[in-house]
Structure formats: structure tokens, C-alpha cells
């Protein structure tokens, strides 16, 4: 029921503009893969090439080991859920679901059975006679997913399916799609620019930027070991703090790095030369408002956000760089106060000027 997908040196050009630059990626059967990245990075284009809606300029796409570059969309065993839902407005929900099966010439009884099954899974049985315009956003979303389910595809493709829903419904549908994945066990590729969706749903996250893969890995791998500054900044919320730093001494016995006017000693080796400028990365949730171990010195508080369960503090370090703290619970901190910024040096990330982890 589930298929593997393999992308080998996939490229896409629109006219003379290359937007996807040689992507290599292997997706295992039944895996839930999320493509994530900023707007315009090529997520949709990549997904549409897998779907067969966009020609592949170069490289090879295979499904279950067979080259499918030239296979039409309807023959690839895929189903796609569009951001706009793309429901047929002149057909009622039943006909929307049945259209693909009718096209494929399934007998009426089988079509009815499949539509009913999909409607049951998605709890849209009572909507079958309605036109899409008479449905709420969430209901349309379900119908769009239903249209994918009835085809019993080996691969589901989702292009930002939740971006038109309000925050509450998004969370709900996110859970439902995850459940659907468990129930059906199909291979799913899900495109989003929301890193929370990516983190919560994915078996495997593919971070894209400007048509290139920045990193592939399990959600926590990306969080704990970002391969570069881009991934480090993209995964996690609030965003990781990046501070200008310099490698003061690369000697293994006193490996020191200068940041915010202070010298820190790191235990692990760094692939950098003495004097080289670096970027020092520290997640807001890993900074504490007290001196323990390593410290960035005293910082002045600029702004405090009280979220109830947690408190976000925006500060400015002694040398004027900004640093954000995510503190547990409710804190009595006011703008203008001075706070010590402490952290565990093992949780720090260090990047070279070119963004690579060093």
C-alpha cells in the first residue's frame, strides 16, 4: 500500500531560470516527509514534479524503483490535496469524491462503497449532497482529503493544506492528518512553511532553501544538530539567537571563543582557525536568567512577553547584540532591568561565517 520515492539529481528550469538545483532524496515506504522552507524556495515545484503536474528538467524520479519522469500524473499512484482545495464547484461533495473513480470506469457499487468509506473516515457523510460553496473551510479541507483517499493512492501529496484555516482548526486538522497517516500507512509528502507543522507531523523533514536541500533528518535531529545556521534559525521557535563571535584561540587545551565581550571555553573541537569570525548560536529556551556556568554577561531587558505558561524576554547584551530568552512559567521581569544570561556551553552551536556548522 505504500511506495518508496527516489529523487536523483532532480532539476527544474522555468525557461532559463533554474529554481531547483539538483535534489537527491530518498523517501521510504510509509514515511511522512515534510518539505519545509521559506516562501519561494521551491517546495511546491518539487511536489508538483513528483505529482506529474510539472515536467522534470533533469534528473530521475522513481517510484518503487521505476523511473516515472514520463508517466502522467494519473498513472503514478498519487493523490494530491491542494492549498486552494481545488474542489469542483459545480459538483456536490459526492460527485467531487466520485469523479476520479468514474473517470477510471469503476462500477457504481464500488464507487459508492469507496465514497462511503472515505466519508466515514473524515466524518463528512452528512455533507455528500452539498456543493462546496455551502461548506466551511474545514469541511472543504476534509472533502479535498476525501477526494484523495477514495483513489486509494500509494502516495499522498499535500501542498500547504492547512494554510487557509484558522489557528484552532489547523491544530485539529494537523492531528487528523497524522491519524490518517497511521490508519492508511501510505507514503505522504507534506509541504508547509510552518516549522511547527513540520516538527509535529514529520518522520523526516527536508529543509529547502533557494531550490537546494539544506538538511534532511528527523525533527529532533534537526533541532539538536542543525547542519547550518539556516536550519538552526528555521527550526525552533522563538528563533535561535545568533551572536557575533571570534575564535580567540584554537589550541585544544584552551579552546576559547570570544562572544559579547567575554571569553568562553568549549570542550569540543572546532573546525576553524584562530581569529576567524564565527556565529555563536543559542536557543532562547537554553538561556537562563541566572549565572551558572557559561555566561553572556549582564544584558538589559528591552521587552517582555507574558504568555502565561512561559515568558519571552528580549534583551540587549553589553556589546549591543540582541538575545532572546524563553523562560518557564511567569516571571516578574520588567523592561529596563538588567539580567545575567547564563547557559550550558554544551548546548551552544557554532557556525562559520558561511553558515556551516564548525
Amino acid at each position: 500500500m505504500a511506495s518508496s520515492i527516489n529523487l536523483a539529481k532532480i532539476e527544474k528550469r522555468f525557461g532559463s531560470v533554474e529554481v531547483i538545483h539538483g535534489i537527491d532524496l530518498a523517501i521510504e515506504p510509509g514515511e511522512f516527509t515534510v518539505f519545509v522552507g521559506p516562501s519561494g524556495c521551491g517546495k511546491s515545484t518539487l511536489l508538483r514534479m513528483i505529482a506529474g503536474l510539472e515536467d522534470i528538467s533533469a534528473g530521475e524520479l522513481s517510484i518503487d524503483g521505476e523511473r516515472v519522469n514520463e508517466v502522467p500524473a494519473s498513472k503514478r499512484g498519487i493523490a494530491m490535496v491542494f492549498q486552494s482545495y481545488a474542489l469542483y464547484p459545480h459538483m456536490n461533495v459526492y460527485k467531487n469524491l466520485a469523479f476520479g473513480l468514474q473517470t477510471a470506469g469503476y462500477p457504481k457499487a464500488e464507487i459508492e462503497a469507496r465514497v462511503k468509506k472515505a466519508a466515514d473516515i473524515l466524518q463528512i457523510g452528512h455533507l455528500l449532497q452539498r456543493r462546496p460553496k455551502a461548506l466551511s473551510g474545514g469541511q472543504r479541507q476534509r472533502v479535498a482529503i476525501g477526494r484523495a483517499i477514495v483513489r486509494e493512492p500509494k502516495i499522498f501529496l499535500f501542498d500547504e493544506p492547512l494554510s487557509n484555516l484558522d489557528a484552532e482548526l489547523r491544530v485539529q486538522m494537523r492531528v487528523e492528518i497524522a491519524k490518517l497517516h497511521q490508519t492508511l500507512g501510505s507514503t505522504m509528502i507534506y509541504v508547509t512553511h510552518d516549522q511547527v507543522e513540520a516538527m509535529t507531523m514529520a518522520d523526516k523533514i527536508v529543509v529547502l532553501r533557494d531550490g537546494r536541500i539544506m538538511q534532511v533528518g528527523r525533527p529532533l535531529d534537526l533541532y539538536n544538530n542543525p547542519a547550518n545556521q539556516f536550519v538552526a534559525g528555521f527550526i525552533g521557535s522563538p528563533k535561535m539567537n545568533f551572536l557575533k563571535a571570534r575564535l580567540a584561540d584554537s589550541d585544544p587545551s584552551r579552546r576559547t571563543i570570544e562572544v559579547a565581550g567575554r571569553a568562553l571555553t568549549l570542550e569540543r573541537p572546532l573546525a576553524a582557525r584562530t581569529g576567524e569570525p564565527l556565529v555563536f548560536g543559542l536557543r532562547p529556551e537554553h538561556v537562563e536568567a541566572r549565572d551558572n556556568g557559561a555566561s553572556l554577561g549582564e544584558a538589559s531587558v528591552q521587552l517582555v512577553e507574558h504568555l502565561g505558561g512561559s515568558t519571552v524576554v528580549y534583551t540587549s547584551t553589553a556589546d549591543g547584540q540582541s538575545a532572546t530568552l524563553l523562560l518557564d512559567g511567569q516571571r516578574h521581569i520588567r523592561a529596563g532591568e538588567r539580567l545575567p544570561l547564563g547557559f550550558d556551553v554544551e548546548r551552544a552551536h557554532v557556525f562559520g561565517e558561511d553558515g556551516r556548522r564548525v
Binding site: A51, S74, I78, Y88, F99, K133
Partner: protein, 317 residues
């Protein structure tokens, strides 16, 4: 700079009991507005509504342009209904023309619009060029040209002879062909429905086709299951407009038959017959009655179209 607030004074005052001269003052205050409306008002009352009402009156008279009209009651209408073979002939010709030319023209217009919708370079230029016939098509000059082209020794027959060795008839003076020649010629004016179809096609979101493609629908099925249903509001609009236009067709038949509606009444369009009665025989009252009957027929057709629309036109709101 001085400010004259006089115009507004009336409006700020609380509404008092009606004063004398209120109407006059209101007219005076709105005079510039009416002035700007004047061309339309004159046009509508002087050139449209006025003559229409006069013609309704005349249809109950025996007006002949020369003597003052005498009231004859419904006599004109009775004669049209019971004792006018030419009326029946004109009806027949006009109905055949409408029934054939409207669908043909719409199909052709849609086909051209679909070709354009594929995204052709320099689209605007082509659109303009293809629209041109619609501007010229109804003109006298083009009709004269058609008469030359489709005459027995015209260019069309010459080409037929050269290419296929077929000796063509006179397409315009043979009663078996003349009406159908006019039907074919009407297609030439496909420009305005085509532009409207094109606008309608552009409204259909591309992801609709992508969804259908994934659903396995080929081009033909996409056309009948997606394009056509989503285009029905535009089809409906074009059909109504073109039907009205076709009922009113006049110039081509007039020029090609030189105003006779011949041969043997085969191109006697309703409007042509009406014209003959009015300006050939000076039976103005009778012609006015014919005109009102045409109006009623067109109104019935349109009303029927609107009634039928709810069964086949898909509106998205």
C-alpha cells in the same frame, strides 16, 4: 479664496414643513447634474422610449407616411395572424437563421477562445485582429464583398473549380443555398462572444484542471466536465445576446438580396420584411405592428432562456 456655502445651507436646516418653491429650488440645486445627464435623457426619451410608444400607437392605425393616421383597432394584428403568407415566410426564414447561426457562431467563438487561452504570444494583437470582423462584419461594405465572393462567377466558385473541379452554384441567388450562405457568413462575426468566452475561460482556476488531471480525466473529459459547466454563465449570456442579435439581423440579407429577400423569399428576414412594408409600401402602421410582434417574440425567447437557466447554468454564488 472665498467659499460660498450657500448650496449647502438648505441641507443643514432641519426638515421643515414643505415650503413653496421647494421643487424649483431642488431643480436649481441639481441643475448641473441634470445637465450632465441631458445627452442620455434626450437620447432615451427622444430616440428610444418616445418613438417606441409612438410606434405602438401607429400599430393600431393605417399610417402611410403621407396622410394622418386613422385608428383601425387591432386590424393590423389580425391580418398578420390570419392572412399574411409573407409574414409566415419571414418567420420561417428568421427562425431557421436564429436556430442555426447562434449555435454555430457560439461553437466557433468558443473554439477560437480556447485556442487563444492556451497562451499565445502577442495575444492582445491577435485578439484585436480577430475582433475586427465583428466591427466590419455587419457593415454594408463587407456585405457587398460577400455578394461578390459568393456569386456564381465569384471567387469562391473559382477556387472550388480550380481546387476540386466542382462547379459551384450561385451561393447567394440559389434559393436552396442563400439562407445557409447567410448563416455561414454570420459566423464571421464571432468576435464579441469570443472575447467574452476568453474572459470566462480565464476565470477558471488552473488547479481545477490539475485536480482533474490527477483524477485521470483527459482533455476531452476535462472540457465537458470542467470547462463547459464552469462556463455556462458565459454561454448563457452569449446565447441570449446572440439570439437577440440574430432576430434583428438585417444588413447582410438586405445587401445580398438587394433588399428583395429573394430569391423566392428565401432570405426574407423578418426585419427585411418589416422594412419592405414600411419603406417599400409605406404601410407604416402595419410595419409598426410587425415590429411589436418581433419585440414580443424576442421577449418570450429571452424569458424562456432565463427560466431554463436554473436547470443548466451553474452560478457559483
Amino acid at each position: 479664496m472665498t467659499v460660498h456655502p450657500t448650496v449647502w445651507v438648505d441641507e443643514v436646516r432641519p426638515a421643515a414643513a414643505p415650503r413653496r418653491g421647494t421643487l424649483r429650488r431642488m431643480l436649481a440645486r441639481n441643475a448641473p447634474g441634470y445637465l450632465f445627464l441631458a445627452p442620455w435623457l434626450i437620447g432615451f426619451f427622444g430616440l428610444t422610449l418616445g418613438p417606441a410608444l409612438v410606434s405602438l400607437y401607429l400599430s393600431f392605425t393605417n399610417y402611410d407616411l403621407l396622410r394622418a393616421p386613422d385608428w383601425v383597432g387591432a386590424a393590423n394584428y389580425v391580418r398578420i395572424a390570419t392572412d399574411d403568407p409573407k409574414f409566415a415566410a419571414a418567420m420561417r426564414v428568421t427562425f431557421i437563421y436564429v436556430v442555426l447561426s447562434v449555435p454555430l457562431k457560439l461553437v466557433f467563438a468558443l473554439a477560437v477562445a480556447m485556442a487563444f487561452n492556451r497562451g499565445i504570444r502577442g495575444l492582445t494583437v491577435y485578439r484585436a485582429i480577430f475582433y475586427l470582423p465583428s466591427l466590419l462584419g455587419g457593415s454594408v461594405a463587407i456585405a457587398v464583398l460577400w455578394r461578390q465572393l459568393f456569386a456564381s462567377d465569384g471567387l469562391v466558385n473559382m477556387l472550388l473549380w480550380k481546387a476540386f473541379g466542382i462547379e459551384g452554384p450561385s451561393w447567394v441567388s440559389n434559393p436552396d443555398y442563400s439562407l445557409y450562405t447567410l448563416v455561414v457568413l454570420s459566423i464571421w462575426q464571432f468576435g464579441s462572444p469570443m472575447i467574452i468566452f476568453l474572459a470566462g475561460l480565464r476565470q477558471i482556476p488552473t488547479d481545477m484542471y490539475e485536480a482533474a488531471e490527477i483524477d485521470g480525466a483527459g482533455k476531452v473529459r476535462q472540457f465537458f466536465k470542467i470547462t463547459l459547466p464552469l462556463l455556462t454563465p458565459v454561454v448563457f449570456f452569449n446565447a441570449v445576446i446572440q439570439t437577440i442579435e440574430a432576430f434583428k439581423a438585417f444588413t447582410p440579407a438586405f445587401i445580398i438580396s438587394e433588399g428583395t429577400g429573394g430569391p423566392i423569399n428565401s432570405t426574407l428576414f423578418y426585419t427585411l420584411y418589416l422594412y419592405q412594408e414600411a419603406f417599400g409600401f409605406f404601410r407604416m402602421g402595419y410595419a409598426a405592428a410587425l415590429a411589436w410582434i418581433l419585440l414580443v417574440i424576442i421577449a418570450l425567447f429571452t424569458a424562456f432562456s432565463f427560466l431554463s437557466a436554473r436547470y443548466w447554468v451553474h452560478y457559483d454564488d
